[in-house]
């Protein structure tokens, strides 16, 4: 493993078996299949895709919160190296300190019966990171200040806060154990645009100041483009294209990424109706199409796409794509 990779997935698959009919093979939801990604230390890694593409499952597998059916996920910081597949006991507990999650809906993620102080202090107490109440309080105040919550806020309950403030509380809770790696799963999707910008700026400044590595999951390419320095595009359980942000937008190679980009409504009222429409909807992950999984919706699909699984190829330095015809289509 090269030195500056914090967490890497190799040939990772996550399958969820369903209850069968009692005969034949049990159906399996193939949520993630053959994923290869490396997240560098201190980077802001974006993961984008439609609902049902498996991006949340991938994020959870990297936190060991989803079963790893095949392949491996390796986490390695300056102190420890963990193979998540076999991690358990005290080592797993230690990993929980190093890797944290920020949820999508700040209304559901905070207990209504705990004060903000208690919410932020809970990880410290559960993980035994502080030895006295004074120490806990000092740490909570420090983190709260970082997330622009004032001391007055700490005594209140979550219902007194707006969506943006609640999301800042969730961020504070994730930061309090000094993690190395944070998965932010659709953390701004439930917020108004004016608040969304505020939370994105906060996440970016935390990343700059403390060097925490982020896996930022979103369905919104324009949000990803503004916050992340590396982007992976997911479709039906597989990564179809991954590149540094500027390359992904200047040298878009996969037809799915192109369709996603053109589906974003333009802010210019004079540019109307140029969307390259994608027909149909994402197929079921129980029974994905053979060959390239995108072939049922791809405007350029040919016979080869229906039979042969496209290889994960490097187009240029750091820019990978899984498509048979990306050169011709570029």
């Amino acid at each position: 493993m090269s030195k500056d990779v914090l967490i890497a997935a190799r040939d990772l698959s996550v399958h969820f078996p369903l209850r069968g009919l009692g005969f034949g093979e049990r159906p399996v939801v193939r949520a993630c299949e053959g994923i290869n990604i490396e997240i560098e230390k201190g980077s802001f890694f974006g993961l984008v895709g439609e609902s049902g593409s498996g991006k949340t499952t991938l994020g959870r597998a990297m936190l060991k919160a989803a079963p790893i059916s095949h392949g491996e996920v390796v986490f390695s910081d300056d102190e420890v190296t963990y193979d998540l597949g076999s991690l358990q006991g005290p080592e797993l507990k230690d990993y929980r300190k190093r890797a944290q999650l920020i949820f999508q809906d700040p209304y559901a993620a905070l207990s209504p019966r705990m004060t903000v102080r208690d919410i932020i202090a809970e990880p410290l107490e559960v993980m035994g990171l502080t030895s006295s109440r004074e120490e806990t309080d000092a740490k909570v105040r420090e983190i709260a200040a970082k997330c622009r919550l004032n001391l007055e806020h700490l005594r209140r309950f979550p219902h007194a806060f707006s969506g943006g403030q609640r999301q800042r509380i969730s961020i504070a809770r994730a930061l309090v154990s000094d993690p190395k790696f944070i998965v932010a799963d659709e953390s701004v999707a439930a917020l108004d645009v004016s608040i969304q910008a505020d939370v994105l700026n906060l996440l970016n400044s935390i990343q700059r100041e403390s060097g925490i590595t982020f896996l930022f999951i979103s369905h919104d390419l324009s949000v990803i483009a503004h916050t992340c320095d590396f982007v992976a595009v997911m479709y039906l359980g597989q990564i179809v294209e991954a590149a540094p942000t500027d390359k992904l937008f200047s040298e878009t190679s996969h037809p799915y990424t192109k369709a996603l980009l053109s589906a974003i409504p333009s802010l210019d009222p004079d540019v109307r109706g140029h969307a390259q429409r994608l027909e149909g909807e994402i197929p079921s992950p129980i029974n994905p199409p053979p060959g390239c999984r995108f072939n049922t919706r791809c405007p350029h699909a040919q016979e080869r796409c229906r039979q042969e699984v496209p290889e994960w190829r490097e187009m240029s330095s750091g820019h990978h794509v899984a498509c048979h015809f990306s050169e011709e289509l570029a």
């Binding site: 439609e50 004016s194 324009s222 949000v223 210019d268 109307r272 109706g273």
Partner: protein
């Protein structure tokens, strides 16, 4: 000039709550012409949905309309005073007759235990003198029109058997089957993926042309507005702060709040541009700021802050019919 399809004048709506009267909509006036798409934009809590629901008298029991409020609907040379319609049979014209509505969450808007087809037929039987067989035919035709494959089979299915995009299409088919003059679309694409959103927007544009309907399109997404609306009204804390054509509002916004919304949007053609949030949160409607309601979050009001804090800005209107309610805007004629 032809008379507007619907005209909202000085609409003020309060809710009776335990904590007193809460003003949800304050002195809102706008017109929608036949065939026009009006976009209504604002953050959550700005009163967009409540305004739209007033057009169909769908607000909760505890709502109180101000005496000056007036909503006039012009259909087939007849005028209806919407807010005075009290009996259920009189309200049929605004509830599915001339006005239909599609909602944000298509799963929550269909009855789960009645087939999609039965729900579509039911409203056709109420609003027209079709027989059940005719209504079924029309419903299947509408499902075909919105691009649902195998419509005859889908007609007998339940909402849970449809995917999100499919449900929203069925919702649109249902709303349009009675051929309304005005369609109220309340965040119709917010719960959908971008690729599905693009399909639904395209579909709505086609249908507006085909049926020559007007649409009141409610959304918080300015990109969606830029792609669909003819005119835009921007709402903040129950007030209309700016109204104009889509080009006026998006290309040369006159109100600091509109500028704030535009600056906080991530733009794909300029990745380096910083995201500038509108500072602070929308105040509680229980505690409306004095003067200009936006002054607590306005970054441009330093110069004449005194006036912004104390004096309610009047709506001014320029020669191109671009209206704005701000002390700092260039002085035009008072509306």
């Amino acid at each position: 000039m032809t008379s507007p399809l619907i005209s909202v004048k000085d609409l003020t709506l309060r809710f009776k709550t335990d904590e007193g009267l809460v003003t949800a909509v304050n002195n809102v006036s706008f017109d929608i012409a036949p065939g026009e798409v009006l976009g209504l934009v604002g953050e959550s809590g700005s009163g967009k949905s409540v305004t739209a629901k007033s057009l169909m008298m769908l607000n909760a029991e505890n709502s109180v309309y101000d005496d000056n409020s007036k909503i006039t609907l012009n259909v087939d040379d007849r005028e209806f005073d919407v807010l005075s319609l009290k009996r259920a049979q009189d309200q049929m014209i605004i509830r599915g007759g001339a006005i239909s509505m599609i909602f944000q969450e298509p799963m929550a808007s269909f009855a789960p235990a009645i087939t999609i087809g039965d729900q579509m037929v039911e409203q056709l039987l109420i609003h027209s003198d079709m027989t059940a067989a005719q209504a079924k035919e029309v419903s299947i035709e509408m499902l075909t029109r919105v691009g649902i494959p195998e419509p005859a089979q889908r007609f007998g299915q339940y909402a849970f058997e449809f995917s999100g995009g499919m449900r929203q299409r069925a919702m649109i088919a249902m709303a349009l089957s009675t051929k309304p003059r005005l369609l109220i679309a309340d965040e119709p694409t917010t719960a959908l993926d971008v690729t599905i959103q693009a399909q639904v927007i395209e579909l709505m544009k086609d249908l507006v042309e085909e049926f020559h309907m007007s649409i009141l399109f409610i959304t918080h997404d300015l990109g969606v507005i830029a792609q669909t609306a003819d005119r835009v009204a921007v709402m903040y804390l129950g007030n209309l702060v700016e109204t104009g054509t889509v080009r006026q509002v998006i290309n040369s916004p006159a109100h600091p709040y509109t500028r704030g919304l535009l600056n906080s949007l991530p733009k794909l053609d300029d990745l380096e541009a910083p995201l500038t949030p509108v500072p602070g949160d929308i105040p509680s409607p229980l505690d409306r700021p004095s003067g200009c309601v936006f002054h607590t979050r306005c970054v441009e009001s330093d110069a004449i802050a005194e006036r912004c804090r104390n004096e309610i800005p009047l709506t001014t209107i320029d020669s191109a019919n671009h209206q704005v309610a701000c002390h700092l805007a260039k002085q035009g004629d008072q509306a």
